[in-house]
């Protein structure tokens, strides 16, 4: 498969009064066409910021200080964040779904007004065409009696339905990449499964790639082809889903896997939490950021600079000694 998106050495920093927060510190990854990729890490490890950086949606005091984002053979970081070229990419080529379905829709506009806006803006449809298209989309994402519900306001929809609307909106202009930023965190577990299933179906139908950003390895286990594990603004391990789940190498990945319950395990196994908290990203030492929490650290971990990713086999890379 051809590469759709290639991010090289991306660095995004927030200049605050307390110091420079290196939210994303030299992240490189790639996404192939029609691939589903999981990006996993704890809160505050830079997952969302890295994705917002790809879209150039970082607002002050945040700033992308280095790196390349090659998407469909164009370096997106060369475009002005508010310029027309970047706007033509957003929504039309790369679409995004956010965590909070309850607040991602404008409460004072009807679903129809918000859904047709995209079709008119990017696809140049007339008002009637856009309305027809919007009703079809709503039907495809599983909203019953879409023709009637389209004139409802967001508060008349449940959380799961709103997220379905967001999925419809994101896919309305046939983007080739869909970024789902914690898409199922705010909905209950049964709805989570339905939404993930729906997203998988939809990106297959639309021949798009999907990035699922989540803190929950369980969410990506079933759907992702490949997984990137992030910690403190860096990718610490990457590989196919089988490689990550079958042969986790980074102590952080192992820690994450130890704290998800499994259905097929023997009774009585205790879930092991990872000790401590993620580090404050201000004034980070050059050594491995996971070192202080790592159960298998050596002296070298606290002395030598953070190792870069090392190829193991297949597509499996790890950033550990």
């Amino acid at each position: 498969m051809a590469t759709l998106l290639k991010v090289e050495n991306l660095k995004t920093q927030f200049k605050t009064e307390g110091g420079v927060v290196k939210a994303v510190d030299g992240v490189s990854y790639h996404i192939d066409e029609q691939e589903i990729v999981g990006l996993v890490g704890e809160s505050g490890c830079g997952k969302s910021v890295s994705q917002l950086s790809v879209m150039q949606l970082i607002s002050a005091p945040g700033e992308i200080v280095d790196g390349k984002v090659i998407f469909e053979d164009q370096d997106l970081l060369r475009f002005k964040p508010k310029g027309p070229q970047m706007r033509a990419i957003r929504g039309a080529r790369i679409a995004m779904i956010f965590q909070e379905p309850m607040t991602s829709l404008n409460p004072v506009l009807t679903i129809s007004q918000q859904l047709t806006e995209m079709l008119e803006l990017h696809m140049g449809m007339s008002r009637e065409e856009a309305r027809e298209g919007a009703i079809r989309l709503l039907g495809r994402v599983g909203i019953p009696s879409a023709g009637k519900r389209i004139d409802d306001y967001p508060h008349q929809f449940s959380g799961g339905m709103r997220q379905r609307v967001m999925i419809a909106m994101a896919l309305s202009c046939n983007p080739s990449l869909l970024i789902a930023d914690e898409p199922t965190t705010a909905v209950d577990v049964t709805t989570q499964a339905e939404l993930l299933e729906l997203m998988k179906d939809m990106v297959e139908q639309f021949r798009a790639s999907l990035v699922i950003v989540t803190h929950n390895l369980g969410v990506v286990a079933r759907y992702a082809d490949r997984i990137y594990i992030m910690y403190a603004g860096r990718i610490v391990e990457s590989g196919t889903t089988e490689e990550i789940f079958g042969d986790p190498r980074h102590p952080y990945t192992i820690g994450l896997l130890n704290c998800i319950p499994r259905l097929d395990e023997e009774e009585g196994r205790k879930l092991v939490p990872i000790e401590g908290l993620p580090p404050n990203l201000i004034n980070m030492p050059p050594t491995c950021a996971f070192g202080p929490r790592c159960p298998s650290r050596s002296e070298r971990c606290l002395r030598d600079p953070w190792p870069s990713l090392r190829h193991l086999y297949g597509q499996h890379y790890v950033g550990c000694f």
Binding site: L57, R90, L121, P144
Partner: protein, 298 residues
């Protein structure tokens, strides 16, 4: 099977729509004072529009022979020193009050909302300049500022409108600025940006509609304040030029004859009070009906 029965289409039908308009009406018309205010305002608008037909006499030209006549069949509220019919002047005064009120609020609200939106959404240096200027204007009491502007421009209805507009812009700008700052942080604004919406589309299509309910309430409440302010300016003699009919000026003219002919001042004074009260009641009613937090409670 039972399952087939449950997943039939009737089960999946959309729930019946509770119209927003109906809910608005229910809360809005629940309080008697709001209805009273609305009736007063409807009568006021009616009076102002049909003043030419309603007034029994020419409001500007009096009969000096009838100077200071007491209320009678011919002059229901008596006449002033120039023999002009008080009732007719009161009726034409409604026109002045509404004209000043509505045009001032219109100009000030549009300008203030635009300034607040620009300052709030784009921020930075321009936003700072705009808001500091508004703060400076706000530092003066509204009536005093209007008084100074009107004194510089001279009297006349247009100058009164300009003076009061400039004096009330900062209120709208401040409110809109605050609303913009809070609305722009909503996820749907980020979601819109992620879909390639331009700044102008976000401002006009998403931030402004969300800010409208509080702005509508502010505008309605301001109408009462402005009619009062116009009366104040006219009372001080910096308002409508004579022989124009303005309630404030009528109160002032009548003040000299307060002991002998109290109706000359009391009638326009009562009119001012009634109208300001009506606007405030309707404004309160709108606020209750538009505030989502109070919905269902009242």
């Amino acid at each position: 099977m039972a399952i087939d029965h449950i997943s039939g289409t009737e089960f999946l039908e959309a729930p019946p729509r509770v119209s927003a308009w109906r809910r608005f009406r229910r809360v809005f018309f629940q309080r008697r004072l709001v209805i009273f205010g609305l009736v007063v305002l409807v009568l006021l608008v009616f009076t102002a529009v049909f003043a030419d037909w309603l007034a029994p006499h020419d409001p500007y030209r009096g009969n000096l022979a009838d100077s200071l006549s007491p209320p009678s069949r011919q002059y229901p509220l008596g006449t002033d020193i120039q023999g002009r019919d008080t009732l007719s002047r009161l009726i034409f005064g409604a026109r002045t009050a509404l004209l000043v009120g509505f045009s001032t609020v219109g100009i000030a609200a549009i300008a203030g909302i635009a300034l607040g939106l620009v300052a709030g959404h784009f921020g930075g240096f321009i936003g700072m300049i705009i808001m500091r200027f508004m703060d400076a204007l706000m530092g003066f009491p509204m009536l005093l500022l209007a008084l100074v502007i009107a004194a510089v421009l001279g009297s006349g209805i247009h100058n009164v409108i300009i003076a009061l507009s400039v004096a009330t812009i900062p209120g709208y700008a401040r409110t809109m600025y605050g609303l913009t700052l809070s609305i722009r942080e909503n996820d749907y604004v980020l979601a819109q940006r992620s879909m390639g919406a331009s700044s102008s589309r976000i401002v006009v299509g998403h931030i402004l509609p969300n800010a409208l309910p509080p702005m509508i309430v502010l505008v309605t409440l301001q109408l009462g304040t402005l009619i009062l302010a116009e009366a104040g300016l006219s009372f001080l003699g910096i308002g409508i030029k004579p022989p124009g009919a303005a309630w404030g000026a009528m109160v002032q003219d009548g003040a000299r004859y307060l002991r002998t002919h109290p109706v000359l001042s009391f009638a326009p004074g009562l009119a001012i009070m009634l109208v300001v009260f009506a606007f405030n009641m309707v404004g309160d009613g709108l606020r209750d009906a538009l505030d989502p937090r109070l919905r269902g409670l009242l």
